[in-house]
Amino acid sequence: MTLPVDTILVIVILTGFLILGTARLITAIRLSAIQGVCIGLLPVAASGGGTSVRVLLLGLAIVILKGVVFPRLLRRAIRESRTSGEMQPYVGITASVITGILALVAAFWLDARMDFLPDSHGLVAPTAFFTIITGLFLIVARKLAITQVIGYLILENGIYVFGLAIALEVPVIVELGVLLDMFVAVFVMGIAIFRINREFNHMDSDQLRNLKG
């Protein structure tokens, strides 16, 4: 059962590229939702026929959280902040996509270098590295606070795939704790964006620069 896993991983990489290449916030949120759903399906697909109830339930929780709840929270933050809906990048779209290509090369290079990883599957670790780099890049290369949250979500997706790459049995309570923390993080960031917007009448993290030295 390697086919669906590979397909899902390729979709994860593609959504990463599309997010780098989009100029519209709403598209970026949709893409991050698609990526989130893929992430939730990964462990289910990887376990093949012998899917346990635990894997199924966790997968379901991730799909609901990343595919439905987070996009909703983010869309609400956009609606309430009366933004133009543009990404407002520091680094232009073309340059971003080129960065993405470089990131993918770097990801495969890293995977080759880190031969000590107990990699269960050829594509898993490179996808994880690529997604992590994409997330970090989005956080630093986009102006709006909300795109930084999207970047954070992509980063978390990458780390989750990385967890699968090293084939580790994380206890359910810890997984749930991590998910709960993520949920609260996005929730808190959403409120923060709302309050920043109310106070400053914008949500450019670019203009948050009164505190120095």
Binding site: V170, A185, V188, M189, L211, G213
Partner: protein
Amino acid sequence: MNPGWILPLVLVLPALFAGAGLLVPSQRAALRLITFGTLAGAAVAVAAAALALSRAGELTSLGAWLMVDALSAYHLLVMAAVFSLSGLYARSYFAADAESGELSLRTARRFTALWFSSMAAMHLVLVSNNLGLMWVGIEATTLVTAFLICIHGTATSLEAMWKYLLMCSVGVALAFMGTLLVAASTHGSGVEGASALLWTELRDAATRLNPKLLKTGFLFLVIGYGTKAGLAPMHNWLPDAHSQAPAPVSAIFSGFLLNAALYCILRTLPLVEALPGNSGWGREILIAFGLISILVAAVFIIAQHDLKRLLAYSSVEHLGIVALGVGLGGLGHVAALFHILNNSVSKSVGFFCAGSIGHLAGTHDMRKINRVTALSRVWGLGLVGSLLAIIGAAPFALFLSEFLILYTAIQQGHTFIAAAFLAGLALVFVGALRHLISIAWEPLDGPVEPHRGTLLEGAIVFVPLTALLVLGVWVPAPFWSLLERAARVLGGAS
């Protein structure tokens, strides 16, 4: 009866108070709950620490998911001290706001709930034996403390909160990768499945762990938790958050939140050190981060005009000193642990006084604050005393712990490290002393009505400062043996 029952209580009690905080009927009740609830939470933590220390091994509970040994017991004690002082101070800090109605009931409730949630989260970090759960605790502290920063809702505090939230979330996410790598290093070491995240299991199997995975994991943990601990160059969020937060919150930030993050790094150090043929590798990394933090902070302290930012940069410096001491090892471990207590106590008192002086003077700009002792006897004298302690003036205990770390460096033949450390200390001393002299002795523009401090306010300022003075000249034997016991955990002994 198994005394392990107390460990879940350490978590549950503050969580219950957090829930109760949402239901308090008035602002006064909220302040009362903060004071007494914090003392109760701290008392349970002290009891847990005492129980753990009275035994030979570690105290475990809930299938070894919770664990307190000498290292965590010591941290629990420091945290109890910082939280008790801050809880008492919060009452005096917010009392005026509550009277004038500036502190709305909604804000008071939210503050109380978040305050106890952060206490519960920090307790979780300290009593957790499971590295994943420890991570959950650290991330939770970021989320609940974010809103404590902007409880006043000003534009600058929102900016500080956003930086804090984003930088620490990203940093802590990287620490999660480190945690996964550390757990993955158990492949083929005989540690089974889910117990790969249990610290005691990892420690017992330390010599059989996969070195490359463990070392990569350690790097991620140092970068990730180091961001939260305020180690330079990942410290950018820290001066903003610490200076914008209300003073009682700044006190727990500088006094303990940073230590909680550093504690997670300290936990992993003995694992890396135990790798065959790797002794010193992890410690060298800590030495590097420690020295960078000390020197970066020194430069910013010289150029600083804001009192609370000065204290915040001083936290970067002191966390750097702790990292340096831990990195040196041997006597350095003991001295670093000693320094943790000294820094936490002096920094908390420093933030109390800075907060109240800021209230009285209407500014935190040190160029506009003069003759603090004339503004208020308690807060003014306290500020001068705590600043002297913080910059390492003898005979405060900070001088002693810094001296011991310097001594260790020279004794081990690290002349360059000792020289850089000394240069950083000298820069901080001179830079901060200049500010101190101007705020303490420059004459006031006109006569002022001095603020009359209460007995309680005097106690939370002068009792800790006196304790630091005493510890600087005489360290009680039981306390020293506690430090040595905690240092043995750092050194890798079980």
